[in-house]
């Protein structure tokens, strides 16, 4: 059974397992390949499209109406659209918002994004949930499902691919003068400090603009550097701290970034987000694995084991850190409990942040856990100054609950140990 809701020419989405969805084109014409994933955020489609972590992925929005508030120049998270393709149930023909500058349809077309509307996105989502994220092709030019299936099966997988080097900046720059302006919304609860107090090097593996904005807000002068920048170069700039950003693809495929982080670790305070978290965890001796269908949305509950509170977070990742793989549990630092270090649910129930011993960098503490599936959402090294989270405290899109982590980074740079001590920066 097929259906077409939009006005555009027909478009096909074919998954590598042969599933086929017929809809209408609602972006640029063309054919695009990628891993098909879904995002459950009800707002923030433009931030999603421009998040470089979506490189190589065809993004499905689970909320049916997309494009209602149009597109604008301020809500972008990078220099362009990185999602390989876009899948929606109903793209709004007209936009209505005081901030809208054009319709989302025209934006997609202008930026060459292949997009499809009018398909049963819930069916697609359920399929991905059950069968896992997989390769797919989205085409407005080839109407033959069999031909598309052959093409998608011949396309490359995300696993093992370095997508980072293609998305980061190639020239270093200082976040500030050239930074895209942040939209002035009428009520901003963010607290801006005065002159920057910290010099921070940010490795741009596909960093979202809002990370830099939040670092700046926390008092950092941020120098954004290409992901291939060496540790020596970075350390030569004498930063107070080094930041490792989010980015696309398989963490196991970006060995150079991992090598850099290993070099920096112990020498300068390190903060990592998303891919940066995976890099830090790998450096601390962890293994990573691919989640069946990832976490993508703005409603993921994360427990901060140190504060005992829950933050609702924005997430976008397909790979995950296996905390238990870092090393053996240190019961005396884990409230005397001897649960399996890898059984995160047990630690959440106990309300204890367990500590394990890594081979090279001493004690590592589990600080944050995703409560939906009890996966690792944040770690902190206790013997070297470093911490990281799997999710996106900078939000954009999504809730601001975890903004305190930017303040935590400044405290880490101040040499304090109680970095999660208070709810600041909110």
């Amino acid at each position: 059974m097929t259906q077409r809701a939009g006005q555009g020419p027909s478009a096909l989405l074919v998954l590598e397992d042969g599933s086929c969805f017929e809809g209408s084109s609602c972006g640029a014409p063309g054919e695009t390949f990628g891993e098909v994933v879904f995002n459950t955020s009800m707002t923030g489609y433009q931030e999603v499209l421009t998040d470089p972590s979506y490189t190589g992925q065809i993004v499905t929005m689970t909320f049916p109406h997309i494009g209602i508030y149009g597109a604008n120049a301020a809500d972008v998270e990078s220099r362009g659209v990185f999602a390989a393709g876009f899948v929606v149930r109903a793209l709004s023909e007209m936009s209505s918002n005081w901030r809208a500058e054009e319709t989302l349809g025209s934006y997609l077309e202008r930026l060459g994004v292949v997009a499809i509307e009018g398909i049963d996105t819930r069916r697609l989502t359920r399929h991905i949930r059950e069968a896992g994220a997989m390769r797919a092709v989205l085409s407005t030019t080839d109407a033959d499902p069999d031909s598309l299936l052959a093409k998608v099966r011949a396309s490359t997988s995300l696993v093992g691919r370095d997508l980072v080097s293609g998305v980061g900046v190639t020239e270093r720059y200082v976040w500030g003068a050239e930074a895209p302006p942040e939209c002035e919304v009428p009520v901003d609860t963010g607290v801006l400090s005065g002159a920057p107090r910290y010099r921070v090097i940010a490795f741009d593996s596909g960093a979202k603009y809002n990370i830099m904005r939040r670092l700046a807000e926390a008092g950092c002068e941020v120098t954004v550097v290409p992901p291939t920048t060496s540790a020596e170069e970075a350390l030569a700039m004498a930063p107070h701290g080094v930041f490792f950003a989010n980015g696309p693809g398989d963490p196991a495929a970006v060995g150079y970034l991992y090598a850099t982080l290993r070099e920096v670790l112990g020498k300068k305070p390190v903060f990592g987000i998303c891919l940066g978290h995976q890099m830090l965890s790998l450096a601390l001796g962890a293994e990573t694995y691919k989640l069946k269908y990832g976490h993508r949305g703005g409603n993921q509950p994360v427990k901060n084991l140190l504060r005992g509170t829950v933050e609702v977070t924005s997430q976008n990742h397909g790979f995950c850190v296996d905390f238990g793989s870092i090393g053996p549990l240190i019961p005396e630092d884990s409230a005397g409990l001897e649960h399996d270090a890898g059984d995160l649910g047990a630690w959440v129930r106990a309300g204890v942040a367990p500590v394990v011993r890594s081979a090279e960098h001493g004690r590592v503490q589990l600080t944050h856990v995703n409560l939906n599936d009890m996966t690792c959402a944040g770690v902190r090294a206790l013997d070297v100054p470093a911490f990281s989270v799997q999710y996106h405290p900078e939000a954009a899109p999504g809730p601001h609950d975890a903004r305190y982590l930017f303040g935590a980074f400044t405290r880490l740079m101040d040499g304090r140990s109680d970095i999660f001590g208070a709810r600041d920066g909110e």
Partner: protein
Amino acid sequence: MPRRDDIKKVLIIGSGPIVIGQACEFDYSGAQACKVLREDGYQVVLVNSNPATIMTDPEFADRTYVEPITVEFVEKVIAAERPDALLPTLGGQTGLNCAVALAEAGVLEKYGVELIGATLPVIKKGEDRRLFSEAMARIGLDTPCSAYAYAIADAEEFVASVGWPVVIRPSFTLGGAGGGIAYNIDELRQICAAGIALSPVNEVLVEESVLGWKEYEMEVMRDRNDNCVIVCSIENFDAMGVHTGDSVTVAPALTLTDREYQVLRDASFAIMREIGVETGGSNVQFAVNPTDGRVVVIEMNPRVSRSSALASKATGFPIAKIAAKLAVGYTLDEIPNDITKATPASFEPSIDYTVVKVPRWAFEKFPGTDTTLTTRMKSVGEVMAMGRTFPEALGKAMRSLENGRTGLGADGKDVFEEHHFDEHLTVPNEQRLFYIAEAFRRGWTVEGVAEMTQIDPWFIDQVRRMVEVERTIAGRQLASLTAPELREAKQHGLSDAQIAYLTGSVEGVVRATRLDLGVRATFKAVDTCAAEFFAGTPYYYKTYEEEDEATRSARKKAMILGAGPNRIGQGIEFDYCCVHAAYALSEAGYETIMVNCNPETVSTDYDTSDKLYFEPLTFEDVMDIVDVERPDGVLVTFGGQTPLKLAHALHDAGVPILGTSPEAIDLAEDRRRFAEVLDRLGIAYPAAGTANTLDEAVAVAARIGYPLLVRPSYVLGGRGMVIAYNEEYLLRYMHKATEVSPDHPVLLDRFLEGAIEVDVDAVCDGDSVYIGGVMEHIEEAGIHSGDSACCIPPFSLGEDTIARIKEHTRALALELGVHGLMNVQFAVKDESVYVLEVNPRASRTVPFVSKATGLPLAKVAARVMAGQKLADMVLRAEDRELGRFCVKEAVMPFGRFPGTDSVLGPEMKSTGEVMGVAPDFPGAYGKSQLAIDYSLPREGAAFISVCDRDKRGIVPVARQLHALGFRIMSTKGTAKLLQASGLSVEEVRKVHEGRPNVVDRIVNGDVQLVINTPFGRETRSDGYHIRTAAVQHGVSNITTLAAAQASVAAIEAIVRRDLGVIALQDFNGGGA
């Protein structure tokens, strides 16, 4: 953080009777709270005066008190039960106000009762507009500029500084009662005067207007670890200026960018923290300027609300249930998500569909009242619909309203006032959506309509799309429509009935055609998480997509059709019956499937039945579910008229109907055939006739004589029903009646003046009959039974009469072949018993009878319908001595509809009911009056003015009032009569006799009780002015002699005796 073990017993205060602004959503929230607290091992003590609620079923609490929600009575409950804590946030404004009053009166301190969920300072800060504005300023949030006024001069002064228009909000009133928008000095004076009078603290807030701004609501939860989540955002379709209860609303918020949305989210949390709501749910309302995004905070409610019920149904996140758990110390992450079972409640639901709520109004019941929509809520109910897209959801909502429409116009029932077309767009009113759609049929532009309505252009454009899709099929032959075209129509919310109208076909053919073409409904789960996780709870809505998620189990299944939106004549009582049916059928081994579209109800709680379909109750929508579920039986007789009117079509479509057959239902409604049944059984009934024309009516009247009860056939709640005392009146009625129901004849019955009306609810299994209760009405026949107070057991009927009534009931049930519930209305006049009406279905009084007798009648009936026999059930003896009197009293909404007459008649106007329990009738009646806002006075002056018919009967009433210490005032005629009886009476002027007159005296507060009985239907008479003034000034106002007699006895009971409190659990015996 673990639950609190220092609390063992929790007191919950309900919201009392259903009134405008406070409906059965608080039964839903309260029932959930009771259930979840008891599951956790807490003892629950409940006070709620509303017997029609599920929560007051004895099994929902350890101790249930159907008592007035007043400090006086709740203190008695506290003294008797000694609870550790009071949870005040689940009983609406009534419960919250009572909790505040208890705290301020020192009762809570005296008995060591802790307020949990919201403390006194929190409630004050949230509710007191001054404290609230100050709190907002502290956290840097804007509120509209405002000032308090205690006198009109204060308001005038403020307006001088901010300009027109201004919004006036009285402090501490329900649903914005007494509020309004003033555009000029006259309106300002008028609204302020009324608002100051209505406010319990005689205070109104005068506010800068944010008319035309976008309005949003955020449903927030916070636990004692300071974890906060937004359960749901709601955007109002109507711009600021229309009360959110009267607005079409949409979930989630649609027209905000993520940045703007997060601003509202952050602000909501900041407000929770600043106000200090430690645990529970709150509702925060914002206005957003559409041109620059400026945000102002409008208000917050530190309690569950109508919107939280909507949010719960819209997302699957049960706010009240979780609020109750948070109040006893749990944290959000300790509570599992009911739907996914695997993930915690400490998250924010993501939905992958669109939810639309549309209010249901009942202006037709209140002629003369202003029907424009303002900041003062006027709707009596609401429907919710879900679709993947906004047009689909809106279309479904528009056909759920039970107003005779099958969608957003295009159904052959569109009527537009051409001379006032523009006003219907610019001034918010109940018809506005139809005018918007029509504007597009007439080629208007989105910009034009958006500007006139101030509704966001995106919404307006969606309506335009719906009309565009409608146009693609209008005027075409059904056979020429392709599958994609039909699918597109269905995806834009068009009903089969609308498609039939547009193509000149009939609904059944449209259905068959589209099924042939493969255009079938699919069902999607409401799962809180946009399909991210597996959903274990089967809660579905219908759409037209590729994948169908509904799965049919192999179990024996019963489908229960709910009652649809609350409206006058069909309220919570029918939801009560449906919920009981679900419980009983589940116990009888059925898989229960609930279908309903009212988000306020317990029936649409996914916990109530095994499966929930949140769908309109139309033939199309029900059949689509039947096609999937293929139930073994469909229950149509518990949800009032809504499902009953589907009985035939479903039966004809081969759907098995549970219980009483549609033929038997018909037989009872067909007057001629029913008269034959009565003749055969030798049961008397008032002489009657049917007329299709004016001449026929006059002829019938000549045959049976005046007075006559006249009404259109097939009506709900006595719509259009009057008593004609003479030919002149009959002619006037007949002239108007043709407008009421042109397809149906007018029915004329001999009106048994002065007769005592009696209601009986019974269950029949085909072999035997169980009489649930015999109710004697206080008001005599002629007042709609829904508006009349009644008493169990009868307080004045002789045993012989009662025996005859029971005998007739049994004979009728068996003769009609009733399988299930039956309600019979009798009139007793001069020792003769007449049958007025038989309804072989659940009646409005079933919950009251169940509470009063302790026997769950609806459950018994459902078991019978599932095939069990009464003989096999252990039922308490029908004729047992109850040892108490229970009085049900109707609650009238006249205060909400200024200008409408408050006189009672054969057309039902009440919105809800209360019950009073006492060892004797006057005590029970007294309690029932105290349970209503306009409580009985205990001293002061009584104004008495009665029609000639009641002159003789009023004398002892006046004498008794005098003996109780009341001063008596009367107008000339009545005064003369009373003086002749030796009473001292102050004579006051009638309205036309100059001033000061009686109305002035009422307005000035010189009168505490008004007894004014009208004759026939006078318009704009003295009586009208007197009654209206009494309603507006909150003076007890009695319009029948019978009620006057009962009231005076009740006042005596209240004044002379200490009325105790009685728990339902202490009623003799227990269980069914």
